[in-house]
């Protein structure tokens, strides 16, 4: 009933091809955006903005990046965190070394440097497939972090190898409050998410999917796998790079290369698998799930059991429940949270009058 599309006729190609063809989706999206752009900054506490929403948004962007590569183009990668690092350090250096570099341009340039590095490490994908490729991308992960620590130029010769992000200024307005940083992050993420959504519906996106489903067959019908794979690596790394730059500028402020370690790469991979491989919505859901679940467990643990249990046990129990929930989720819905939403939508077409 809620999702019934009966009576919504498409009279032109534009209408048929629009990003949300169903009116309910359009309305829902507008409400959602209004909620996050207007209501959240007004009512959310600093804790929610700074510790939850900003990182969830940034990780969503990184997850979209990885999803483009893994979910749409079928290339498994374990180096997303390293590309985030390239983005963060790239943006930092562009803004440090070029006077008057506009913030948004700096972020984009950071993303572009990540894209460049991504293409270089994507080259082996032309020959290597599956888990072999995944392990090979670990070379990128370890090498990039090593290089950022090793060559002091990247961190402007700081003795400890960390960089402190400059103040964010756009057209003279300084983004210092949590609300403004949140809105900036949200705006960037929204724009790039929309671009991604359109990209995967375009010719490029269809090429990726063709290569994902079977690259030999794709080649036979005239798609150049090299171009498709490398463009997927470039776009994916660009997204990760932008996410990395935001991570440094709107979230942490001061970052060290080791912060972008293998754990973070895995975390981003969890996000897309739990959220849904090959789904932009899934990237958001997965990021929210992976960021929020451990925190929720920690809070619940402290408020319910608290002092009743030996201190180390609580943390271990959180780990056990976290691991157990991941397995449980995969068994119940191997295609991720995005698929659950899809199923829910199908149900809602008839609900509450199923007959």
């Amino acid at each position: 009933m809620l999702y019934r599309e009966a009576g919504q006729f498409k009279a032109s190609y534009e209408e048929d091809q629009q990003i949300f063809p169903i009116r309910q989706d359009r309305v829902g999206m507008a409400v959602l955006l209004a909620f996050f752009f207007l209501a959240v900054p007004m009512f959310a506490s600093q804790y929610w903005l700074q510790a939850i929403l900003i990182p969830v948004l940034i990780f969503s962007l990184a997850a979209i990046g990885l999803n483009i590569l893994t979910g749409y183009a079928g290339q498994l990668s374990l180096g997303s965190a390293a590309f985030m690092a390239v983005g963060a350090f790239g943006a930092y250096n562009f803004m440090l070394r070029i006077d008057g570099m506009p913030f948004l341009l700096g972020i984009v340039l950071g993303g572009l440097s990540a894209a460049l590095v991504g293409v270089a490490f994507g080259l082996p994908s032309l020959r290597i497939k599956g888990f072999y490729l995944a392990v090979a991308t670990l070379a990128a992960q370890f090498f990039i972090v090593w290089a950022l620590v090793k060559f002091p130029w990247f961190s402007n010769y700081s003795s400890s190898g960390v960089i402190s992000a400059q103040e964010i200024q756009i057209l003279g307005y300084a983004f210092t409050t949590p609300e403004s940083k949140y809105l900036l992050t949200l705006a960037v993420v929204t724009v790039f998410a929309l671009v991604a959504k359109n990209l995967v519906r375009s010719t490029t996106g269809r090429r990726w999917m063709a290569v994902r489903d079977m690259d030999v067959a794709a080649e036979v019908i005239g798609i150049r796998p090299m171009r498709a794979k490398l463009s997927a690596f470039a776009v994916s790394s660009f997204y990760c790079g932008v996410a990395g730059a935001l991570y440094a500028y709107t979230y942490l402020g001061t970052v060290e290369p080791e912060g972008f370690n293998l754990d973070l790469s895995f975390k981003i991979l969890f996000m897309i698998i739990i959220g849904g491989v090959g789904s932009i919505l899934g990237s958001f859901l997965g990021a929210a799930f992976i960021v929020l679940l451990p925190i929720l467990l920690n809070v619940v643990m402290h408020s319910t059991l608290g002092s009743a249990m030996p201190p180390g046990l609580g943390s271990n129990l959180e780990l056990i429940i976290f691991g157990g929930l991941i397995i449980f989720f995969l068994i119940v819905e191997p295609h991720g949270l995005a698929r659950l939403w899809q199923l829910g939508k199908d149900k809602l077409r008839l609900w509450p009058f199923p007959h």
């Binding site: 960390v162 970052v255 929720l296």
Partner: protein, 440 residues
């Protein structure tokens, strides 16, 4: 779905956050601890000591001038993003908010560095963190107390000098530096290069890739180069592996000098016999024979209220380091109360004053039952380090034995470097350093 889910979780967390506030005469201390993950074992001892000390102050004295200490742990897993979440979560708890943040992780320290000044919460990093933050005029909210990495490196060189019979004997000597290849390990480079230039010794830097559980190549290089001493700048599994590999390549363990994050039972016990003779620096010593530890045993463990799972760890290096954290936190509260009103909980801003005017002289340490347990300490507006002294301990196969008195660092040299680095930071960030002569 997303909206619903977020709202639902939001409601749950908000509900949980709202519970548990207590009466006004309590001082809240947020503990961003780690008890799982690669360093969980270190965290258990450190936070155990710290919590036990605070529990002891509550049990023995009824708190600080009647203000009970309360605390809450938040698991960070030694992960920066989780650390930030913990910082934000703990920030507004208790009647006056979180009064001090001590993450015991350099990564998390950097991640919250910009936030503490905004939120007016002192960030105390004892023996880790950002070295140049010791310049309090540029970093008013950060306190890398007791000693920084640079002071420590300098103290280690001074100790080697004294073993050789004078600093002039260092000329022409070769010192190996086996360091964890990360920001943490790199902290040692600048200072050792300076010292090498000054005293005329040679530094050979050898990197160990994270996590450091395989060091055959490095120790064969050391065997080839035959340095007179090796400074071990490691963390976690790297330390035990270094000692094991040193033993198999025949490098004498009493020529290896570890930094304080390399010198705990967690590092020597897994190395077994290979650790015998190994020397390490520490800004606190091991052992349970100090009155302060005795007090913890009688007031806390005798009542079955201790925090440690394994009571044999009482008196271990990291446990005692946790106690030092406890002592400094409690003494800062006491100091702040002297100015802002006894028997009242302190805000973060008031605590900052307490830390900045902390003065633990030998008399005060004796009263605390910590003579010889930790160095005396005097913090000022400009100097957020205060002291920079370390003791050296040797592992005899079963426990740590103190083998030196408090060894000073080369203060003028270290301080000069700190000020230079802090000034560069201030310039980059556009900070005007405050004028310490106007502070009281």
């Amino acid at each position: 779905m997303k909206l619903k889910q977020t709202a639902l979780i939001g409601a749950t967390i908000a509900g949980l956050l709202a519970t548990g506030y207590a009466s006004a005469q309590e001082q809240f201390i947020g503990l961003a601890s780690y008890r799982v993950g690669p360093f969980g074992s270190n965290g258990a001892s450190l936070y155990g000591g710290w919590i036990d000390y605070m529990a002891m102050v509550n049990a023995r004295d009824g708190g600080v001038n009647g203000v009970k200490l309360t605390w809450e742990e938040c698991e960070t897993e030694y992960n920066n993003a989780r650390g930030v979440e913990c910082y934000e979560r703990l920030k507004n708890k208790g009647p006056t908010g979180n009064s001090v943040f001590q993450p015991l992780s350099t990564g998390i320290t950097y991640s919250v560095l910009d936030r503490v000044a905004q939120d007016k919460i002192p960030l105390v990093t004892i023996g880790y963190g950002r070295t140049d933050a010791a310049d309090g005029s540029v970093f008013p909210w950060v306190f890398p107390m007791i000693t920084t990495y640079w002071s420590q490196a300098s103290a280690i060189v001074n100790y080697i000098g004294s073993k050789e019979g004078g600093m002039d004997k260092l000329k022409g000597k070769k010192i190996g530096l086996l360091f964890h290849d990360s920001a943490y390990g790199k902290e040692s480079h600048a200072i050792l290069d300076k010292l090498a230039e000054k005293h005329g010794f040679e530094v050979q830097k050898i990197a160990v890739a994270n996590p450091g559980n395989e060091q055959q190549a490095q120790w064969l290089q050391i065997r080839q180069a035959k340095p007179d001493y090796v400074i071990l700048w490691g963390w976690g599994v790297m330390n035990a592996t270094a000692l094991r590999t040193a033993a198999r390549t025949g490098y004498s363990r009493d020529k290896i000098i570890g930094v304080w994050w390399s010198g705990s039972e967690e590092d020597t016990i897994p190395a077994g016999d290979a650790a015998k003779g190994y020397v390490a620096a520490g800004f606190n010593v091991a052992g349970a024979n100090y009155p302060v530890i005795k007090d913890i045993q009688t007031n806390v463990y005798a009542k079955n209220a201790g925090n440690l799972e394994d009571k044999n760890r009482i008196g271990s290096v990291l446990y005692n380091r946790g106690v030092v954290h406890g002592i400094i936190t409690v003494e800062a509260i006491r100091k702040a109360q002297e100015k802002y009103g006894k028997g009242k909980p302190m805000t973060g801003e008031q605590m900052r004053w307490g830390f900045e005017n902390l003065d633990l002289d030998s008399k005060r340490l004796a009263a605390l039952g910590a003579t010889g347990f930790m160095p005396d300490l005097k913090i000022s507006c400009a100097d957020h380090e205060g002291g920079g002294k370390v003791k050296f301990q040797q592992w005899d196969g079963a426990q740590w034995k103190v083998v030196s008195d408090w060894v000073e660092s080369d203060r003028p040299l270290v301080r000069g470097m700190i000020e230079e680095s802090a000034a560069a930071y201030a310039k980059e960030k556009g900070i005007t350093p405050r004028d310490c002569s106007k502070e009281m």
